[in-house]
Structures are given as C-alpha cells and as structure tokens.
C-alpha cells in the first residue's frame, strides 16, 4: 500500500521548516505552526500585527533592513542567509532564511515568501570549528616555541671572545615550526687556538636535529683530541656513517678549522667536507671565494676525502662561512642564487669587519625574502685593521 500526503494544509503547517509570507512592507500575512512553535507565539498575536523584522534580534533587524530586504527586492530571490530570531522568553534561535518575491501580472511585488531553517546544529558545528581552530593555533604556537628552544640548544648561546679576532654569527630560520639542520660553533682549543665549524645536515625536522646534535658534540670532542681539521672530519665521517647505516643516508656538508693569533694577523686552517666555498674579504678591497674542491660530504661514504687550506688573515681581512640556504635561494621561477652571485653582491663590501659582513648578508637575505627556502647559518671572522689604517 502506498500512502499519499493528502493534506497540503497539514504539510504547510507542520513542515520540518518554518514558512512565513509577508506583504512588501514586511507585515506578516501567513505563518506556519512550526515557526510559531519555534517562536513560542500565538498566530493571532502575529498575523497582521507584526512585521517580519520584529521577529529578529536587533543586530539581525539592522542586517535584514540594510542588506537582505534591498537585495531581495533587486534580485527577486535570496537564499542561505544566516540570521537570529528572537523567541519568546528572550532566547535566540539561529536560522537560515531563503526568500522569494511573488509578483502580480504587472510585475509588482505582492508577497515575500520565506522559508526558515533551524540552524542550531549548524551554529554548534561552526562553534566547534572555531574552537578547533583556536586549539590548532595554540598548538602551533607551542610547536614553534619548542622548535625555537630546540634550535637554540643546537647553537652556541653567545660567541666567545677570541683575542685579536672579531667574530659574528647569525641564524636565519626558513620556517618557524621546524628545527633546521644548520649549525655552527666557535670554541677554545688548547694553545691559544680557537676551533670553529659550520655546516648543514641533510633533511629537516626532529631527525635532522638529532643528527645535528650528534655532529656538534662529535666535532667539539674530536677537535679537542686532535685539532687537525682533516682528522676532525675523518672522525665525524666514521661516526655519522656508522650512525646512518641503512637505506636512509644521513650526512652533512661542513667546513671546520682552527684560528690562531699571529702577531697582529691570524692564521687559519680550514678543511671542507663538500661545503660551499667561503668568501674572503681583503683589507685592500678585493674579495674572493675560498674553494676547497674535492672535499666530500661527511657521513655518506665509508671513506671520504677532505681538502684543507691554510689562510692568513691580515689586519682588515675577514672571512664568511655560510650554509647553502643562501646560495640555493630562489631568485625566480627557474633561477637560483649562486655563490658567484653572492661574491658579486658582496664585492663592494671589502674591507669589512665580521659584524659588517653579517649585517650585509642579512640585508641580502631580507632582499631574497621568501626565496630563502632552507635555513641559513652565517659565521664571520675578521682581524681588526691597524690603527690609522682603513677600517
């Protein structure tokens, strides 16, 4: 047996949504039982007596009269507008309104027919979403704080004072939520010598942070035991290669060495393990790249080769070590910043002090902006110019 809906009257009155018809001036001329029940009102107190906007909250009425009604007049129909009704007892009922204008043969508006959907569930859902978003934002702040703290433990809290040498460093994080894999350090060694290193671990995030931590302690320990930078890198290579057995290679590019005062100059020994060339700024105004070609990245191969160079920093000379977040910055859709670009951009800088160099590279990083997709670590060392000489 099929049962038919036989009463349109009943369907109208007890529909699962509210129906209300008004004159163009808003006066209610017909309203169904469902909507009256939601409002907690009697039919006789509403029909012909109140305007539809009287059923709205104050905010809803302003919105209705300034936006809804004019737009409805213009378009002839309007749907999905969220407003609040004022029910008896002062409770608010969130609803969704859809209205159409019924016109006569001459095109003049006669009635406005409106369906009213109960939106309490939807409102609860939206509030749930807002709460969810708040929670996610708080969680993100927490993750960023954690990443920042962890990052700080991977970098020296402050550079030590090295007699006769100026030092400056900077860490530029590419992301606030992720710990980067770049590192640097400057630390005392026996015999008025100072050790330093700077490098970049493959990968990002917690895994990279664990490796970065291992690298830092291994390098510092190895340098105290035998300060020869090639021995230091050999030692690190053995430790990293053993730690990363398996399919996922863990390695780093690193430049490390030592610096020792020699009269009013300084003598450096620098070894490179697959790292981008350092930039040397001379007191005479020239600058150049210090290539350590043939040095292999550290931790990827059981036996790696490292290349060493001796360098003398005279008064007024400076050297910049940096990680590849800088030279792999994107400058266009298909172009990247290279170390040659870096040398060109810093060409006018020499002679410069370590803080000058860091400040200049910071300006470059700002100019590259979002192009810097990887973290960048900078470490600069310089020997102060002679009294009366050029700064």
């Amino acid at each position: 047996m099929t049962e038919y809906e036989d009463s349109l009257e009943d369907l109208y009155d007890n529909a699962p949504c509210g129906y209300v018809s008004t004159l163009p001036d808003g006066t209610i001329v017909k309203i169904n039982a469902t909507l009256l029940r939601w409002l907690g009102r009697e039919r006789d107190a509403v029909v012909g007596r109140v305007s539809f906007s009287d059923l709205l909250t104050v905010g809803g009425r302003i919105y209705y009269e300034t936006h809804f009604a004019p737009l409805l007049q213009l378009r002839g129909e309007l749907g999905g507008v969220a407003l609040e009704l004022r029910a008896a007892g002062g409770t608010r009922l969130p609803v969704l309104l859809t209205s159409t204008v019924k016109s006569d043969a001459g095109g003049r508006a006669r009635f406005i027919r409106t369906t009213v959907f109960d939106a309490r569930d939807r409102r609860a859902y939206e509030e749930e979403l807002l709460r969810g978003r708040d929670l996610a934002e708080r969680e993100r702040d927490r993750v960023q704080r954690l990443a920042r703290t962890l990052q700080q433990t991977l970098l020296p809290p402050a550079l030590p004072v090295v007699p006769g040498v100026q030092a400056a460093a900077y860490y530029h994080p590419a992301s606030l939520d992720q710990v980067g894999g770049d590192f640097y350090d400057l630390f005392p060694l026996p015999g008025d010598t100072w050790g330093f290193f700077l490098g970049d671990v493959s990968g990002k995030g917690e895994d990279a942070a664990v490796v970065t931590s291992l690298i830092r302690y291994t390098l510092r320990g190895a340098a105290v035991y035998d300060p020869d930078p090639v021995s230091v890198l050999d030692h690190l290579n053995t430790v990293l290669y053993q730690a990363s057995q398996g399919m996922y290679p863990r390695f780093c590019t690193v430049v490390c060495g030592s610096i020792r005062r020699d009269g009013d100059a300084a003598v450096m020994t620098v070894a490179g393990g697959g790292h981008t060339p350092a930039v040397v700024f001379r007191a005479d105004g020239t600058s150049s790249l210090l290539h350590l070609r043939g040095g292999q990245l550290v931790g990827a191969l059981p036996e790696a080769r490292f290349v060493v160079a001796e360098l003398r920093l005279e008064p007024g000379d400076a050297i910049l070590l940096y990680t590849d977040g800088l030279t792999e910055a994107r400058t266009g859709a298909d172009s990247w910043y290279s170390e040659e670009d870096l040398l060109d951009d810093l060409a006018g800088l020499a002679p410069a002090t370590a803080p000058d160099v860091i400040a200049a590279v910071n300006r470059l990083l700002d100019a590259l902006g979002d192009g810097v997709e990887d973290d960048t670590a900078l470490l600069a060392l310089s020997v102060p110019a002679r009294e009366g000489g050029r700064a």
């Binding site: 990968g203 590019t253 697959g274 990245l297 990827a300 191969l301």
Partner: protein, 113 residues
Amino acid sequence: MNDFSVTVRTVAAGVVLTIRGDLDAHTSPGVLARTGELSLSRGQLLVVDLSGLRFCDSSGISAFIAARNLAVGAQADVVLVAVPRQVLRVLDVVGLGALFTVRSSVEDALSGR
C-alpha cells in the same frame, strides 16, 4: 609550482628510476622510499633518469647516494642520465662528481655506450 614525480620502470638490463621536478628537502624522502623498494641483481644497472629534473639541493643528493648504496650493496652499477648543469655543480661542490657514471640518454646508459 613544483610538479614533482618519481617513477620506476623495469627493463631487461635492470631498473630505470625517473625523477622529475624539484628534488629538495620536501621531495627527497619520497625518492628515498621508492629507492628502498627497488630490487637489483648482481651485474644489473640502476639508471637514474634526471632529464626532467629542474633543481636539486644537498638534501636531494641523498637520493643519489641511496641509489649508489643500493647498487653497491647489490653488486650492481648505477648510472645518472641527463644530469642538469645545476646538479653537476652541486655534485661537484659536495665532492661526489667522480663517484657516478654519467650518460646523456637512457638508451646510451642501457647499451653501455
């Protein structure tokens, strides 16, 4: 826009791994995972086709090292094909240029030319 992809094709002489797009810290874990699933027999070739590669940074290099480690472990050979100039530069900087055989096309690599 980075339209990155990595595909694997088995051929008589071994396996061709094709990498397209930007190989960086975001995409290299996917390549490492695919490389880990490859099976190579002794004397076979692992051909890594880079003709569609646009960019590779030091984390992308891990994919080449994984490919080499896999090949060395299986007593197979690894050949890089159509290595972009930018990647040759990175391989040179990290001192691995001499570690890989480089060919200009997959056909050349497979025929041993």
